[in-house]
């Protein structure tokens, strides 16, 4: 390993419409290192990467690659210099096949004719997928039909197949479960051995300690510092990110568990899942674990009325809950925080105010007229309660950072004052501070007697907040653990189908 910086960014400035997002940021990456880029939601991590690769133009500062000053005006130019990015937002073309996505923008053709070499591309796709340990993804499948996790694996496969010198991964594991993460880490390790640099952005602290060599922290668009991972600790990183001590990761639970609120009996839906039996009590948090594609989301959608069940019964306070539309569930006091905030959670073009009001239109209106005052009060209250970082309630949610978007989704469901709240991957892409706030809110709700079902692929989180844990394996219930009974290994064992 040599000491030469592969990429060096100095005193980078960037503003969006007067809003300074990066101020004097320094960031350098050496050849063959795995470098973590950390910071709260909205700290400017993704923006820094986009400035580096020429998606955004910089307002000030210099960038050198292998000692030479560069100005990229298009990501393709960065790619030519060996810099490849796996973006935070999925860049899959849904109607194209896996192979077509893998070779997007760099199709193999017969000479310069532009005629595609389809067979060759398919073979290479299979190889790349095999290298990542996901040979179960069929190269001819339409990418849009795959789960988000598999789509993410395609993007990773695409990036590592380019022979890049530096691969930037912006939250690559947000949609992955442990098995995929493990094989991703193996690939990262072998890339490092080949001298490839990796910039790794993630909000999952465990991963940082597992694979990274050095860490750079940003806060509010400012450069805080760079440290070798060995010389730092969880608490120290959090302090650099947040600017203060955060204390315990998972707040103490102190709610009193009451009567059964929701009871699910022998629920089934076509080929998705069957034989689902469980209860949730008032004031209780039920964690739902499982591998990607186990069908957890489908179970929740069915309970919520967004999909039709084919068998079974759902009881709310002992009375059958017959829902044909999410509207019915909302009336019955059920909230559902969907896993995909962009497609299912938010109307990106609308403001925070309008998004939050969406589930609460009845409450903020009178006889069909929306009352501005009531709406303002409700929205401002929730923004404050959830510490949404924003320029105001009228900001378009599109321009919020990922974590803050997630908070807006939570806000809109808190507004309905639910009796039962279902959260599907609620902390996906959310920073440590915000995560804690979300756990705190969950606790507060349970103290008021709200029942919570939380689907999560992050085992520490499942273990940290749940009163009970239900594990789903291939559409069937594998096991239910009480708090304290479970550990990571037992859950993984059940989730992978072991007895």
């Amino acid at each position: 390993m040599n000491d030469q910086n592969l990429v060096k960014m100095s005193e980078i400035d960037k503003s969006f419409a007067g809003n300074r997002v990066l101020q004097n940021v320094n960031f350098s990456v050496q050849a063959g290192e795995v470098h973590a880029l950390m910071g709260e939601n909205g700290a400017g991590k993704s923006t820094l990467i986009k400035v580096l690769t020429g998606i955004h133009s910089r307002d000030g500062g210099t960038i050198t690659v292998k000692g030479k000053d560069v100005i990229f005006s298009h990501p393709k130019e960065a790619e030519k210099q060996g810099i490849v990015v796996i973006h935070q937002e999925l860049n899959i073309i849904p109607h194209l096949t896996v192979t077509e996505n893998m070779f997007l923008g760099k199709e193999l053709s017969i000479g310069k004719t532009g005629i595609l070499r389809k067979r060759e591309m398919q073979t290479q796709t299979l190889e790349s997928l095999k290298r990542l340990g996901v040979e179960n993804i069929p190269p001819n499948e339409t990418a849009g039909n795959l789960s988000v996790g598999k789509q993410q694996m395609i993007e990773i496969a695409r990036a590592i197949s380019t022979n890049a010198e530096m691969i930037i991964m912006d939250e690559p594991t947000a949609a992955l479960t442990d098995r995929e993460i493990t094989s991703l880490f193996k690939v990262i390790e072998s890339l490092r051995k080949q001298g490839v640099s990796i910039v790794y952005i993630s909000h999952r602290m465990e991963e940082i300690f597992q694979i990274c060599d050095r860490i750079t922290v940003l806060r509010d668009g400012q450069y805080i510092g760079t440290k070798p991972i060995k010389e730092t600790s969880f608490e120290a990183i959090v302090k650099m990110m947040v600017g203060r001590d955060l204390g315990e990761r998972f707040p103490e639970r102190s709610s009193v568990i009451g009567d059964t609120l929701l009871e699910v009996k022998d629920l089934a839906r076509d080929e998705w899942f069957e034989g689902i039996n469980f209860q949730v009590k008032e004031g209780e948090i039920l964690g739902v674990a499982g591998l990607m594609g186990a069908g957890r989301t489908e179970i929740m959608e069915t309970i919520f009325g967004a999909a039709k069940k084919s068998k079974g019964q759902v009881l709310l306070q002992g009375r059958p809950l017959d829902v044909t539309h999410p509207r019915d569930s909302i009336r019955a006091g059920i909230g559902f925080i969907t896993e995909d905030r962009k497609d299912e959670g938010l109307v990106l073009n609308l403001s925070i105010r309008e998004n939050v009001a969406l589930t609460n239109l009845k409450a903020v209106s009178c006889g069909g007229w929306v009352s501005n005052a009531r709406e303002r009060d409700l929205v401002d209250d929730l923004i404050k309660k959830l510490h949404v970082r924003t320029t105001g309630r009228d900001q378009e949610v599109k321009s919020l950072s990922g974590g803050n978007q997630q908070k807006v989704v939570i806000a809109k469901w808190l507004g309905i004052e639910p009796r039962l709240l279902i959260l599907d991957e609620p902390t996906r892409g959310v920073d440590v501070g915000a995560k804690k706030e979300i756990y705190h809110i969950m606790n507060q709700l349970t103290e008021q007697g709200v029942a919570i079902i939380m689907v999560s692929s992050e085992l520490p989180e499942i273990l940290g907040v749940s009163d009970r844990i239900m594990v789903i394996h291939e559409g069937k219930m594998a096991k239910v653990f009480k708090r304290g009974e479970a550990d990571q290994e037992k859950i993984m064992h059940a989730a992978t189908g072991g007895e």
């Binding site: 007067g18 299912e344 969406l358």
Partner: protein, 311 residues
């Protein structure tokens, strides 16, 4: 804060376009800025504006309605037929509007329950409703409408010197503006267009919202048709042909996005004014009809380029 201003400026794009056109016409034609011409112009645009208001709702939900012209024709013919057979004018108008509502609802049902793309669904009903109009009228205009004062009033009347169609347009604008901005329904229109799936998961019955939106457009189209019928003292089977293009143009000129979820009714009014002012001005200037098309197309293009934004 700054963003807000920029946002508002970009919303001003169409308005600036309109003002420039108006200034140029004011300089080149003596008659443009007379009170008479302005009222005349407003009356002329009222037809297109009413249809375009409905179209704004439809486009905000991410849809499109090509059948407005045919609905206009059928509604007019039906109303005229009832009038000619001696029915009470107000009752005839009411039934006509109801028919418009129903035709719109049919569009909405095909689109939501039949899951047919709005473009193709309303392209089909455009043909069907036109055919129905031709069958109903046997391809001839319906004349000999009643001499009822109230029916004549709709298209030809004045209130305090303002043409009645203009008043109808302004009332419709005010009501719809209010609905879009201040009611639950208005919110639902924006959110269904912005992200249908998220709206459904938030408990909004997207299908219902869409059916209503097409129904409203159907009714407004017939209202426009009734004004036309009253002004012409007859209903034409070919009335409203190509009106859909003018209405869509008004909406898009006004800055409403064809992908749904983003737009405003005021913009549509401005868009309708741009088109109306152009037609009026080109007539006043007696531009040869061949060149009129070139000028009209170019000005529309310039107005949109002023308001340059993608998709």
């Amino acid at each position: 804060m700054k963003k807000k201003i920029v946002n508002n400026l970009s919303q001003l794009g169409p308005l600036i376009g309109l003002i420039i056109i108006v200034i140029i016409l004011g300089f080149t034609s003596d008659s443009f800025f007379t009170m008479n011409n302005i009222l005349n112009l407003l009356r002329q645009i009222s037809i297109n504006a009413l249809i375009a208001f409905g179209m704004t709702f439809v486009i905000l939900t991410g849809g499109i309605d090509l059948s407005v012209g045919s609905i206009l024709a059928f509604g007019s013919a039906l109303t005229a037929g009832m009038l000619a057979s001696g029915m009470d004018p107000m009752l005839a108008v009411f039934i006509g509007l109801l028919a418009g509502l129903l035709m719109g609802a049919v569009n909405g049902l095909i689109i939501t329950k039949g899951k047919v793309a709005p473009f193709i669904a309303t392209l089909a009903t455009m043909t069907i409703f036109r055919g129905a109009t031709l069958v109903y009228t046997d391809g001839r205009p319906i004349t000999g409408l009643s001499d009822s004062f109230s029916f004549e009033m709709i298209g030809k009347g004045y209130v305090f010197g303002v043409p009645f169609p203009v008043i109808l347009m302004l009332i419709a604008f005010a009501v719809l503006f209010f609905i879009l901005r201040n009611t639950i329904f208005g919110r639902q229109v924006y959110s269904v267009g912005g992200n249908e799936e998220a709206s459904i998961l938030s408990g909004i019955r997207a299908d219902r919202v869409k059916i209503w939106v097409y129904s409203i457009t159907g009714m407004l189209s017939v209202l426009a048709g009734i004004i036309l019928t009253s002004r012409l003292n007859s209903a034409q089977p070919t009335a409203g042909t190509m009106y859909e293009l003018d209405a869509i143009a008004a909406v898009v000129l006004g800055g409403t996005s064809l992908t749904g979820g983003r737009g405003w009714l005021t913009g549509t009014l401005i868009g309708a004014l741009i088109i109306g002012v152009l037609d009026n001005g080109l007539n006043l200037l007696n531009v040869s009809s061949f060149y009129q098309q070139i000028v009209k197309g170019s000005v529309i293009l310039l107005a949109v380029l002023l308001d340059r934004r993608s998709k």
